[in-house]
Amino acid sequence: MFRYIVKRLIEIIPIIFVVSLLIFFFIHLVPGDPVRLAAGKDATLEEITRVREELGLDKPLLVQYATYMQNLFTGNLGHSLKTGLPISDMFANRYMITMNLTFMSLGWALVLGLLIGTISAVFRNKWPDYVGMLTAISGISLPGFWLGLILIQIFSVQLGWFPTGGAESWKSYVLPSLTLGAGIMSMLARFTRSSLLETLKEDFIRTGRAKGLKESVVVRKHALKNSMIPVVTIAGLQFGFLLGGSVVVETVFSIPGMGRLLIDSIAFRDYPVVQAVILLFSLEFILVNLLVDILYKALNPKIRYES
């Protein structure tokens, strides 16, 4: 197992290399000129040429890529074209905020999603099932943008319980993580329900029941665990997405997170920032995937990874 993990970790290096290559060349394919945008509408041609030279954007792409990779390996992410600030400075604060939001959203979504899913499966086609699935459908269908604004209207403007946004205390995270987690909770509930229903049809469950085990034991100890593979897959994927930051929720609640940074940087063609953000997201996704694979094995020892 240990060797397997090490091997997977080593594999990250070529993947990151390919990803960096793709990001770098794709972003330069997109029309738009950061120098123009930085210099402004009333910039003169000579001014633009000067800025372009200063930023090193007049050099051939391959040379730019080489410089970029060289810096990357020395741990230097570069400077933003827009603000001139070091990218690591821009990341520090935003990254922690996105992390907090991710864990809060995923946390409550996991607990409630599993609970609703299990109850719905156990009481299949009875009223708890209907209530549960209605909740789930609503959670999936409500657009985050709308839900966020409604929550602000009710809990901030009317009741005054939580601030309308920002990232100052745990209180400011409540509404955004509710908004962000709603869809995930619903998805997890639905997956748990269907997966659990499948498992409950299996022979070993019938055996369990036949040998007189209590229904609660059957569900908790035998069925639930065997239904977790698809749920873990979904949770892992969502975890990865959440770490990328949510543009919608960050915008509605004015949270300075990673999602907004990426969107702003793309709009400005701030190449170094876009590259750094996407590279980070790729790395996170790879790591989350690894975590999911390890969990698979823990859930089902029959799954073997050659080491």
Binding site: P31, G32, D33, P34, R36, L37, A39, G40, K41, D42, A43, T44, L45, E47, R50, K82, T83, G84, L85, M90, A92, N93, R94, M96, I97, M99, F103, M104, L106, L149, I152, Q153, S156, V157, L159, G160, F162, P163, T164, G165, G166, A167, E168, W170, K221, K225, M228, V232, T251, V252, F253, S254, P256, R260, A267, L291, L295, A298, L299, P301
Partner: protein, 533 residues
């Protein structure tokens, strides 16, 4: 065995989640105080402080880019900087030039020599005394091409800055440039801080203004506090100002309602209704320097015919435009710039008249209309505006295809061309904001400024206009300037290189207990007299 592994699986997952969760919330504590001096943030909603409020929260729609006033291009960053920096002259809330770090100045006849008497006993926030030498260091910084600052485009006209005595400075230009006087509003930075921080001055602003820099947490907020040693001490009374970027319109409005923000700008037109009559909130309106128009490519057929351009102007109902697209907040554009700018000369309106438009089109040989397209960015207001133009021109037989492009792509298409003939643009729905007549006219109508060299995107060329603009920049005589800029406005308006639409209104909201805070016509945030009632 099976039991154990199940437990392990569940606990690994839940534990790791719990652990990371715990860790991360612990970290958020430190994250929040990165600035060290971070103040307790905006009061909890619903909690109206009983005692005198000490901090003013200003919520704006975008992130600030830089705090180096000599390298700033966006209105928002400079709006925030005005609390910390002052130029030799400053703009007041109505965009009038008033004495700042200088008490008086004189200009020679052909606008090549400017002499300033400086204000005495002024100190920068770091204690450095303000004097002629400090001004020279700042001006030399901006006029040096190698420093690559935004301000260079204005300060490149400076040949030399000379220290006459401790409190007198003489600036000599390499060519006459009367608009230079407006450029002396650029903020002066502490020479000692410039030396200490180098390029990092953009994160560590040190000026002479009524407020001192406290901290800037990237993307979250920027805080300034009252400068107790300011030369105009007592004008501003609020102890602390926090500027916060809040991009979502609805969220900004909600913050004003709950009292989390004391001032919000911009206030979207559509939201004014929801605030009118809300408790403790005031909506403020002021004319802006922003003109809204459609630039027409005069090099292309059929727009090379002035009758076609005039016809298009007659075909668009400006009252309806303001009502539909600007929700009623705006004024008709009756010249080539906003009435808030010096030397404005009102020209009138191409009154909505379909018959006249059709007649002109017929004269020009386009009785049956033609097909063209209009470009704009993806902003929802821009799309609305473009669709409005589309519908209006349809009535005179002109079929317009609306093409909205993401801003950077659009900018590339317009300015990224090699020569004017290459321009693919037919019509461009756009706006322009400037604080002085030179920037409003020379940038947009002087033939030396055809893209890619400049922003004359209509490719307007008129020798008389070129000559008048040039002469106006070469004379410091205000009467002469007014006359020359009058000629420019008259000719441009008659030849209609644009569809003249509207002058935007600046809308902002504030809590009713806030006094002395204004948004200036150019989008600056004026806090020099800020106080709570």
């Amino acid at each position: 065995m099976k039991k154990v592994s199940y437990l392990r699986a569940a606990s690994v997952f839940l534990f790791s989640v719990a652990l990371l969760f715990g860790c991360s919330s612990g970290n958020s504590g430190t994250g929040g105080t990165t600035g060290g001096t971070s103040a307790p943030q905006a009061a909890n909603p619903g909690e109206t402080p009983a005692k005198q409020k000490e901090q003013l929260v200003v919520a704006v729609n975008e992130n600030f880019i830089t705090m180096d006033p000599q390298n700033t291009g966006d209105a928002l960053s400079s709006g925030v900087q005005t609390s910390m920096f002052e130029g030799l002259l400053i703009y007041d809330k109505d965009l009038k030039l008033i004495p700042g770090l200088s008490t008086e100045y004189s200009v020679n006849e052909d606008a090549t020599e400017y002499t300033f008497k400086l204000r005495q006993n002024v100190k920068f926030h770091d204690g450095t005394p303000f004097n002629a030498q400090a001004v020279k260091i700042n001006f030399d910084r901006m006029s040096n091409q190698e420093n690559n600052l935004r301000a260079y485009r204005n300060y490149k006209y400076i040949k030399s800055t000379d220290v006459v005595d401790e409190y007198t400075v003489k600036v000599t230009l390499n060519q006459p440039f009367s608009a230079m006087i407006n450029k002396f509003t650029t903020g002066i930075i502490s020479p000692q801080a410039l030396e200490k921080y180098g390029k990092d001055i953009a994160k560590n602003p040190v000026g002479t203004g009524p407020y001192k820099f406290v901290e800037w947490v990237q993307g979250d907020h920027l805080t300034v506090e009252l400068n107790q040693d300011h030369w105009d001490k007592g004008a501003a009374k609020v102890q602390k100002i926090i500027y916060k970027p809040v991009p979502e319109n609805g969220s900004r409005v909600a913050m004003l309602k709950t009292g989390e923000a004391d001032v919000i700008y911009p206030l979207p037109e559509q939201q004014v209704e929801t605030l009118n009559g809300a408790d403790g909130v005031k909506v403020e309106r002021t004319p802006s320097t922003i003109t809204r128009y459609v630039s027409i490519n005069m090099l292309k057929k059929p727009f090379d015919d002035p009758r076609v351009r005039q016809a298009i102007n007659y075909a668009v109902d400006k009252d309806a435009f303001i009502k539909v697209v600007k929700a009623g907040y705006g004024a008709k554009l009756e010249s080539v710039m906003s009435p808030t700018i010096a030397h404005y000369a009102k020209q009138g309106v191409y009154e909505y008249n379909i018959e006249k438009a059709k007649e002109l089109l017929k004269e020009a040989g386009y009785e049956n209309g033609f097909t063209t397209d209009i470009w704009g960015n993806t902003n929802s207001d821009t799309m609305k505006g473009m669709q409005f133009i589309q519908q209006q021109l349809q009535k005179v037989g002109i079929t317009v295809e609306v093409k909205s492009m993401e801003e950077a792509t659009l900018s590339d298409e317009i300015y990224g061309i090699k020569s004017p003939e290459e321009a693919k643009m037919n019509m461009w729905y756009v706006s322009w904001s400037s604080a002085d007549p030179d920037n409003a006219m020379r940038s947009l109508f002087s033939s030396e400024n055809f893209p890619p060299a400049g922003a004359n995107t209509a490719f307007y060329k008129n020798d008389l206009v070129d000559k008048s603009i040039k002469e106006a920049t070469q004379s410091s005589d205000q009467t002469k300037q007014k006359e020359l800029y009058g000629v420019v406005q008259e000719h441009v308006f008659k030849e209609a290189p644009w569809i003249f639409l509207a002058v935007d209104e600046i809308l902002y909201g504030k809590r009713s207990n806030v006094e002395g805070v204004y948004i200036t016509p150019s989008g600056g945030i004026y806090v020099r007299e800020a106080e709570f009632k």
